[in-house]
């Protein structure tokens, strides 16, 4: 089996990108990733694109983007795993190289969400659970799905609304340092606590924004890496995959996401590492409670101790395991299908010690990084481990 390296990355500015269409926004990520790899579009034999779609007009975003970026003719697929579509696309391209079908592949995450009104977005995301049993009669929303987790976590472990707000304060701090982030401003704890209720107990600042954005990775086999004369790339060590029930009512508990636990366990085993070896991580903080549960589900701390990690600053840039020092979904933004790819762009830069500004560069010991990306409410789980 081939080893798989990331040899070039690209990332658009996230935010309200009404200044461009989906193809133009994708070009902002794809072209720099090709240039960074010393390649042109003509060199790419295979493309996996992560996109959820529906909020923008093109039902076949992969073909439209490929044509616009000069990639027509390559093998092409669009992958859907809700908010983990970017990781699904990465896994697809990774498998193509690992199984020696391809020597090179392009991974693209592309999402434009700001082309329709917010209530319709709430409608479309809310339907993304088990439509028949949770939306048709009960109008569940994405914040509501995570709110029921927050309520049980608070009840069982004493996590507080202030703890949730601390996650937002931390991630906004790093979003303010990230020129590509959607929300580049710091917030105070009080501002987060005083913000309007979205789905009790989650408030505005517990929720990620609705964002446009794209990201891109060029993956290569070890042979191709040598051929291109690339020294010291970042390697994909493992991708753990898992899933959970569509009906939330069929889950055992609401204090964590089983798909995260299983995906992490599988990724750690494949990579031959444990949580202690991780130098830096990006976790799926679509809501603040999700980051606290992720600490626990990934084994960064014991179950129920997640809030303590943020209280003690253990996930700050100079902490025990820095988490989401790019702003996370919370402040960098969460263009649904792009997020998984965006996480790997950030971690590749971290591992190459190429983060700008330097104040959010993590100091590395083991040169191992972890990306945790879930789709829906832990319906899909992906954990990717990178090593340099």
């Amino acid at each position: 089996m081939n080893k798989v390296a990331i040899i070039g990355v690209g990332h658009s500015r996230f935010g309200d990108r009404s200044d461009v269409n989906l193809s133009e926004l994708s070009f902002e990520a794809i072209q720099p990733s090709l240039e960074a790899s010393g390649l042109t579009a003509k060199d790419i034999p295979y493309i996996a694109l992560g996109s959820m779609g529906v909020w923008s007009e093109e039902p076949l975003p992969a073909v439209v983007i490929a044509e616009y970026c000069g990639l027509t003719g390559a093998g092409l697929v669009r992958c859907e795993a809700a908010c983990a579509s970017g990781s699904a696309a990465t896994f697809n391209a990774y498998c193509a190289i690992r199984s020696e079908q391809m020597d090179l592949a392009l991974v693209v995450g592309a999402e434009k969400m700001k082309q329709i009104d917010a209530p319709t977005i709430m409608e479309l995301i809310g339907r993304a659970g088990y439509y028949m049993w949770e939306f048709e009669n009960f109008g569940m929303t994405f914040p509501a799905y995570y709110a029921v987790h927050a309520v049980q976590h608070m009840q069982k472990y004493g996590t507080t609304e202030e703890d949730l707000a601390l996650v937002a304060v931390k991630n906004h701090k790093y979003g303010a340092m990230n020129p590509l982030a959607h929300l580049q401003h710091e917030i105070t704890l009080q501002k987060a606590l005083d913000s309007s209720v979205i789905a009790w107990p989650l408030k505005l600042y517990d929720c990620c924004p609705i964002t446009d954005g794209t990201a891109s990775l060029v993956l290569a086999s070890e042979k191709k890496v040598k051929e291109l004369g690339i020294e010291d790339p970042v390697w994909i060590e493992a991708i753990g995959v898992a899933s959970d029930t569509a009906n939330l009512s069929k889950r055992e508990t609401y204090v964590g996401l089983d798909a995260s636990v299983k995906a992490a366990r599988r990724a750690y085993r494949t990579a031959g590492i444990s949580a202690k070896d991780i130098d830096v991580a990006t976790v799926h903080d679509c809501f603040t409670i999700a980051e606290i549960m992720a600490y626990e589900d990934l084994g960064f701390c014991e179950k129920g101790h997640g809030a303590n990690m943020v209280r003690e600053g253990e996930t700050e840039v100079d902490g025990r395991i820095p988490v989401n020092v790019d702003g996370g979904l919370k402040a960098k933004g969460h263009p649904i299908g792009t997020t998984g790819v965006s996480m790997l762009v950030e971690l590749t830069k971290q591992l190459l010690e190429d983060v700008k500004p330097k104040k959010r560069q993590v100091s590395l010991k083991n040169y191992v990084a972890l990306a945790h990306n879930t789709g829906g409410t832990g319906h899909y789980g992906f954990v990717t481990i990178l090593r340099r």
């Binding site: 009404s18 009960f138 009840q155 209720v197 009512s249 069929k250």
Partner: protein, 143 residues
């Protein structure tokens, strides 16, 4: 800064799905009669709520209809303030998940109580509901 130029599409898309309920029609008829049904697998004994026509646990398609008592205990809940477009006329509704005495959990609205008085662990009952327009559903009420 000027707002970037965009073209308002001339084509409007409206989607309304037909939801096939032929194989679980007893459930929907039961709601009209004031009962909440689950299905139980004849082969492995697994109780399913929401009801299913095929048992994912053992692969059998032979299931019996069984009425739920509806009695249960609240596991978790939320109150939705920012609503989906198609729920915009509703007041801020409470959604709860409760564990029923029969051993399955259900998700539904909890009505007849203010959020401030809702407590994890409180006793609730799952009951059928028929709206004025004859649409049927089910909801939790406090006991």
């Amino acid at each position: 800064m000027d707002k970037p130029l965009s073209l308002k599409s001339a084509r409007k898309l409206q989607i309304r799905y037909n939801l096939p309920i032929g194989r679980t029609s007893n459930f929907w008829k039961g709601l009209e009669d004031g009962k909440v049904y689950a299905t139980k697998c004849q082969k492995c004994g697994r109780l399913h709520f929401p009801p299913v026509a095929d048992c994912g646990s053992c692969g059998s398609s032979k299931l019996d209809w069984t009425v739920l008592s509806g009695d249960g205990e609240l596991v978790t809940f939320t109150q939705v303030f920012i609503k989906p477009a198609s729920f915009s006329d509703e007041s801020n509704y409470i959604v709860a998940i409760a564990h029923l005495n029969e051993g399955v959990k259900a998700l539904a609205w909890l009505t007849g109580i203010e959020r401030e008085n809702v407590k994890v662990g409180m006793k609730v009952k799952l009951v059928s509901k028929v709206f004025l327009d004859r649409r049927v559903s089910y909801e939790f009420i406090p006991v």
